[in-house]
Amino acid sequence: MPEQEKYFNDLVKQYSEPLYWHVRAMVGSHEDADDLMQEIFIKVWKALPSFRGDSEPFTWLWRIATNETISHLRKARVRAALSFSRLDAEAERISDPDPYFDGDAALRSLRKALMKLPDKQRTVFAMRYYEELSYEQISEITGTSVGALKASYHIAYEKVKSFLNENN
């Protein structure tokens, strides 16, 4: 087996599961996360020859996955807008009864609130809240300054809080 393929398979073994949870937290639905995992690892395979180890594999993979997921969320919003459906419809679709959702009513509401956030705020919120990544780690992944991330998280947090207050 060529060295590159072996390295790729090592990445798959070590990171596919945590990367799935990372993507899932942002998109909500299992089907979307599953489709995205294919797309992400195809990108990883293509980009592997240019990966020189300047950053940790974790940061590199999370960066590809986050960019791919944000692009997916943006396309979904554009599709929703073009089909003249309310943008909330996408959030409703994701929040519909999901067999792979184990949370209680409070966590269900939190998910709904999260799905209504703009893509970047949702991403930052999911990485902070669910994955408990530091701002420095998120900054390395997204290429956004720590200050901007803190502001983004604060705005997202306030929006989520206000949504939960209105709906409970």
Partner: protein, 89 residues
């Protein structure tokens, strides 16, 4: 995932996911030949089309001597230049 992570995945999902993802290099290598094949086909088509156009446009009878002289005069070529070209040919 740590705090209050509410999502789960189907039973055995990660084994099948790993299997599918590990197939990507094999599939990509196979699929990668397609662009080269498409390029070869389009190159062959371009050559054939060019050849066809060339055959069509050059199928007419060659221009007569008068026509050539007329063209040269019209294009501003002087008699001296013509003589020079003829004698130094």
């Amino acid at each position: 995932m740590k705090k209050n992570y509410p999502y789960s995945a189907p039973q055995g999902y990660f084994d099948s996911l790993q299997q599918r993802l590990s197939d990507i290099p094999v599939r990509r290598t196979r699929v990668n030949l397609a662009p080269y094949f498409a390029l070869a086909v389009s190159f062959a088509l371009a050559v054939l089309a060019g050849n066809y156009i060339l055959m069509k446009t050059t199928a007419n009878a060659p221009a007569s001597e008068e026509e050539i002289v007329e063209y040269l005069i019209d294009s501003g070529t002087t008699l001296a230049q013509l003589e020079d070209a003829v004698y130094n040919y």
